[in-house]
Symmetry: C2
Subunit: 341 residues, 2 copies
């Protein structure tokens, strides 16, 4: 108890500049009407013709807005790797606009998909997204968040994340974000492999860490969450701490088993049982994720060490049950038919 209250005291003593004070005043948008459920396919090539007919070149913002229905969200994705692209497709299917930035250059990829790509987080924030969605890896998230110029965002913007651990981004965002911005921590518990045939029935965990009830934030938050709901996800509202407890005992254990089996270098045999085939598949899925993700699940979840200890104890227990009954000489006698001398 003493250490917990002293760490709160330390947190209170931390200071950060009030980025909000530098934010330019922007007109507040009217609460957006819920978009139609019909997915809007991004038509990347037709605007130029339309613009030519209108007799002038469209600005990038006009071009972007031509893709989406009025009242649609503008979601700015920071970190546009495999997972960010995967989530972007769902956002577009629900008729919202995607803006993106990443360490790597995705200009070409984005141009073909009706997504505005920005070389820097600065430029992305200048474009004023409604939701800033962090899709960076667990390990790089702190550096990424510290580099975002939040003061450039609209004052009613929401910052959300999709990390596989939740207490870490929650605490990080509460610490770094200027007080006005909304914070929604989420974990879509699926990915490009498990979600390749759609998101129906797949769990989506969320925690509305800080959402202002006045102004547009609450509406934008619901609109953002409705993307996953309308895609068919099983919506699970849960505190970040609760998520991390459950995830350490399930997702982290699953990854650990997959990593252990990967070390064994298991091979398909002519006599695979069904159970063995599920282990081969699990191993394949596990190693298709990066080791950094697995390390992130361990390093950034305070419950993971306990689960590693439980797993080790369980292994020792099974060994004891086996070796307690084993007698090497007896085995030689039984299997190899060698008589006891």
């Amino acid at each position: 108890m003493a250490s917990s209250s002293s760490s709160s005291a330390l947190l209170r003593r931390r200071t950060y500049p009030n980025f909000c004070a530098f934010a330019p005043l922007r007109p507040t948008r009217q609460p957006a009407a819920s978009t139609s459920r019909a997915p809007v396919a991004p038509p990347p090539d037709h605007h130029q013709d339309a613009a030519a007919a209108a007799g002038h070149d469209p600005s990038p913002e006009e071009e972007e807005r031509a893709d989406v229905a009025a009242g649609a969200l503008r979601v700015g994705i920071v970190g546009f790797g495999n997972f960010g692209q995967f989530i972007a497709r769902g956002i577009q299917r629900r008729g919202h606009a995607v803006l993106a930035t990443s360490r790597s250059d995705y200009f070409g990829y984005c141009a073909r998909r009706g997504i505005r790509f920005f070389a820097t987080a600065d430029a992305l924030c200048d474009a004023g997204p409604d939701v800033l969605l962090l899709c960076s890896s667990i390990l790089s998230t702190e550096a990424v968040v510290r580099a975002v110029p939040f003061h450039k965002l609209r004052p009613d913007a929401i910052v959300a994340d999709v990390l596989s651990v939740k207490q870490f981004p929650r605490n990080l965002l509460l610490e770094i974000l200027p007080p006005g911005f909304g914070i929604v921590c989420t974990h879509p518990m699926f990915g490009p492999e498990s979600g390749k045939h759609g998101w129906s029935g797949l769990p989506f965990v969320y925690d509305k860490v800080r959402v202002a009830q006045e102004g547009n934030q609450a509406t934008k938050c619901e609109q953002f969450l409705s993307i996953f709901e309308e895609e068919g996800c099983r919506m699970v509202e849960m505190s970040c701490a609760e998520h991390d407890r459950y995830a350490a005992g399930s997702q982290f254990i699953t990854h650990t088993i997959g990593r252990i089996l990967a070390q064994l270098n298991l091979k398909s045999t002519p006599i695979n049982t069904k159970g063995y085939e599920t282990l081969l598949k699990l191993t394949e899925n596990t190693v298709s994720d990066s080791f950094d993700l697995y390390y992130g699940l361990f390093m950034y979840n305070i419950n993971a060490t306990e689960q590693m200890e439980n797993l080790e104890k369980a292994f020792q227990k099974v060994k004891e049950m086996l070796y307690g009954r084993l007698h090497n000489v007896l085995r030689k006698q039984i299997v190899e038919r060698v008589p006891i001398p």
Copy 2:
């Protein structure tokens, strides 16, 4: 090499009574024609009426033969627990007769299914089955085999087993069985759970350890194997030693993972991933088998210890990869936002 040749020498020095010398001479049956592929459902209740119409009580042998086509095999199952009953259903589906004996009383069960049940292995052997199929557990097999009065069997009988380990029953049968009998070691790599929707595509391993080419044995052996082939199994001919090498690295590892997870007492959570659900299912399937089966896979397979060691090394390697990067103070700083003092 020295120890191997000395153990062969020990084996050669072993003696056993020539049970065959006491076997009564029996007429040799003509090679059985292959039975029709159409399954013959055992009609358990109609014989009495038929017998009454014929004006005499049927003998047990007449009753049994009324169920099966001419030329069908008569398979005597020793050990009629869950697995023996499961295999019996497949044998009956292919139109063959099942006879059974077990430590427990299955008279009622068998009477309802057109199976002749015998209180003792003695009585079963007296009935002269073509194939004696050992369906005892791994742990009880040696005692069961030593108690079978093989001298009562027909001299061209085949003895087969279905154990999940193969070198052990192979060596045991080669040692104990009088030389004339055929030996076929098999492992149907499925059970009541994985085979509940049929056996199609499921692996069936077999090794014709000793089958005489003269006389009926070869034909009976093919007829016995055709039961599994016609049920759709994927037939895998493999030496017992090879089976045990593959099985230790696949089936035994699978059971071990299931047993470790069972020790963890995993629970379904509100946020199960697909991978986690496959582990829950694996655990459930593993513990639905007895611990004795798992212990048998370990104790009676000379490759199992090495696989346990590999698994332990793999676990230690994963731990090293994680803890090598972990620094506890750093984690507290990152996750709980406590500044380094």
